[in-house]
Subunit: 239 residues, 2 copies
């Protein structure tokens, strides 16, 4: 879609940099920014509340279902007021969906990091594999969230909205890589195909993985198989 993701988070909060809550996407890479190693005490406090809120919410949602839990409940259980909850999250859905907020950015940077000459199918496969690898590596943390999202209409809707944003980013990056018109048909189409594969794999993984911690299937194997189907189309670039 061409709709700008629309900063649904109008209040990333005064003092906070950007994303709170342990993002699910990249392994948080430790090396990139050796400078700026001083998370203000205030920032760390904020982070603390955010994670407390997130974990409390996820636990309650998993236990009683998303709709059956009120924001007041979550806030009180975490020891803050409802008003404060909304200073950390723009909406009730946000607590869950922000958990995978980094995925889009991760995909894009991964795509940007691929060698210039690489075939689109290979580059996109690697990009989309990053968050899936994170899922495969920590199923005990990611599986419940993914299942919650996929099983709750309201959350699914938000998730898909996010994906639409990712798609634009990927399409832009792809157009840049290949020197194509970003307004052409191929870039968004290719990005959409990659995300369709991503979604399909996520879905199948969340179904097949045993309810016990260790997932049953490897998401990386699934995504590779899916890209085996997509590749003929992805690599026949014409603009």
């Amino acid at each position: 879609m061409s709709t700008p993701p629309a900063p649904r988070t109008p209040a990333p909060a005064p003092g906070a940099p950007a994303s709170d809550a342990p993002a699910l996407g990249a392994p948080a890479s430790d090396a990139p920014a050796p400078a700026l190693r001083a998370p203000t005490l205030a920032q760390r406090k904020r982070q603390l509340v955010a994670t407390e809120l997130t974990e409390t919410a996820l636990q309650l949602f998993a236990h009683k279902g998303f709709e059956a839990v009120t924001v007041d409940e979550v806030a009180t259980a975490a020891g803050v007021s409802k008003r404060t909850f909304f200073r950390y999250f723009a909406s009730k859905e946000d607590v869950v969906v922000q958990f995978l907020a980094g995925m889009g950015a991760d995909m894009r940077t991964a795509l940007a990091a691929r060698p210039a000459g690489e075939r689109p199918s290979a580059a996109l496969l690697h990009a989309v594999s990053v968050p899936l690898a994170a899922c495969g590596d920590h199923p005990e943390r990611t599986l419940p969230v993914v299942r919650l999202i996929l099983g709750t209409p309201a959350l699914l809707a938000r998730f898909l909205e996010h994906e639409a944003g990712w798609r634009e980013e990927l399409a832009g990056e792809l157009a840049g890589r290949l020197g194509l018109d970003p307004a052409g048909l191929y870039p968004p189409l290719a990005a959409g195909m990659a995300l369709t594969a991503f979604e399909t794999v996520l879905c199948r993984w969340s179904e097949d993985a045993g309810s016990g911690g260790g997932g049953g299937v490897d998401p990386l194997a699934l995504i590779a198989e899916a890209f085996g189907v997509l590749a003929p189309a992805l690599d026949a670039v014409r603009g």
Copy 2:
């Protein structure tokens, strides 16, 4: 996705058969059911209120923006109470999104109607072309709605949710046609690719079409072009 679309419309209303409001999808085909030509007076009254509500809402939304219009406003302008509004539509979003409720069913039946031996790319192209043809034929009615949806986060989310449902339907139909396991990777992947193309085309069409009634580009030409990209992947079925 494997999430059942979840009957967001818990109240199709006591006396109503199924869908109210003039669906956008198929040309409403006149021939199919020659019997049962007696829409109870009550039913026609209901239909009347539904269309009044829909048109009033669309007009207000287009004029002031979706979020800026309250349900009370719509209801009052249409001459009913807020409570009655919710007896016709499950949510505020529903008024807009139900406008294209038929699309999914149209696609599926169109796909089912294609000759058995046809290549998946051709069959899916025809399926997805049905609603797009409707858009191309009546841009003055469809363009504003499409633009409204694509430009409003809340509506976009709902739309994407609908699409997830369509995808499952198409995947099921496709699996049946090709004798594949519906739980395999190919069916949902192929359906997702077709819908990605659909979405991309819808998006580009809504941007390019002059704000005047007559659209600038032909959605059917666009979708054919998009399927030119997808075909190599769609027709390399392996299961």
